[in-house]
């Protein structure tokens, strides 16, 4: 038989905290979503086929890069805001700037309630901004965005490049959890 006929939405979750990744995974799976969880923005872009990784031969051979997003069918991206290297905001911008990915709905999560941060993300095209810890009631809000994403036509993007606010430097402190967790 071929692929499963049942349409299950595929959510890509991005968070550098293992604990928060486990939590968001469980919340999403409880809501019957298929989940892929990664620990960084660059891993997310790799998974989405946007970033070229010279060291990863396996990836390069199995996923065509540039604009072949149909190899990986992601219906929604939910990402933490504060991450070392690429922040959730940076990731959001890269996705919205990509011809192949810009229609994928993006949701931002943050532990800090900073109005300017929230409005900046929403202006950049994020569908929702969830305060951590994320609740089941938040995940329940995802459905309409997923349905919309399926039928969405391309719209002109509004890029407001306001100054980036400071995010905590976690480089030396975060344990590096390598690899993708496909659950």
């Amino acid at each position: 038989m071929g692929m499963a006929a049942e349409a299950q939405y595929h959510v890509l979750a991005v968070d550098d905290s293992l604990l928060d990744r486990k939590l968001i995974e469980r919340l999403l799976k409880t809501s019957s979503y298929h989940v892929t969880a990664v620990d960084s923005g660059s891993k997310a872009l790799q998974f989405l086929g946007l970033l070229e990784d010279e060291h990863n031969d396996a990836l390069a051979s199995s996923v065509s890069l540039n604009d072949h997003h149909q190899d990986v069918d992601v219906n929604l991206i939910i990402t933490d805001y504060c991450m070392p290297g690429m922040t959730g905001y940076d990731l959001l911008r890269k996705i919205k700037e990509s011809k192949s990915l810009k229609d994928i709905p993006v949701v931002i999560m943050s532990s800090e309630n900073i109005p300017s941060r929230i409005s900046r993300c929403l202006e950049e095209g994020a569908e929702e901004f969830f305060l951590k810890p994320v609740q089941l009631s938040d995940v329940n809000k995802l459905k309409p965005h997923l349905l919309k994403g399926r039928d969405k036509e391309s719209e002109p993007g509004i890029n407001n490049r306001k100054g980036m606010e400071e995010c905590h430097s976690h480089d030396k402190t975060r344990t590096k959890y390598d690899g993708l967790e496909v659950v």
Binding site: S17, L18, L19, D20, K22, L23, R26, L27, K29, T30, S111, K132, P133, Q135, L136, H168, S169, H170, K172, T173, R174, T175
Partner: protein, 146 residues
Amino acid sequence: MDGMTQLQRQWREHTAYLRKEGYLDDQFEQLQKLQDENSPDFVAEVVSIFFDDSEKLLNNMARALEQKVVDFKQVDAHVHQFKGSSASIGAMRVKNLCIEFRNHCEAQSLEECVRCLRKLQYEYSVLKNQLEYLFRLEQQIRAAGV
């Protein structure tokens, strides 16, 4: 099944006690709701990650505060992370101490930071003991039930 009922009652009472005393808040209950037959060890798994993270972060804070020239931004980064993970599992007392701690970091007050770290280490170890006791009860309940 007298032993089973007693264990379950102990478990319920202890959870209620932890909530009442403010060790845990609603978020812990949310975690428990996410646990089911499909992921029967979810809470234990998440709490275990929390323990690992916490110990690492507390060490990092201690080391950072011992430096000749203290980098308060670095200390704050560790506390910020600890605040996040404690909030994620519902460890309210720990989380609130982190909030206090961050204020001292911002004020760059070494003495207050050191004092706060000690309080944090204490609260964390109390919480750890409480949760470990809770999980032991759970294990006993499961062993008695199957």
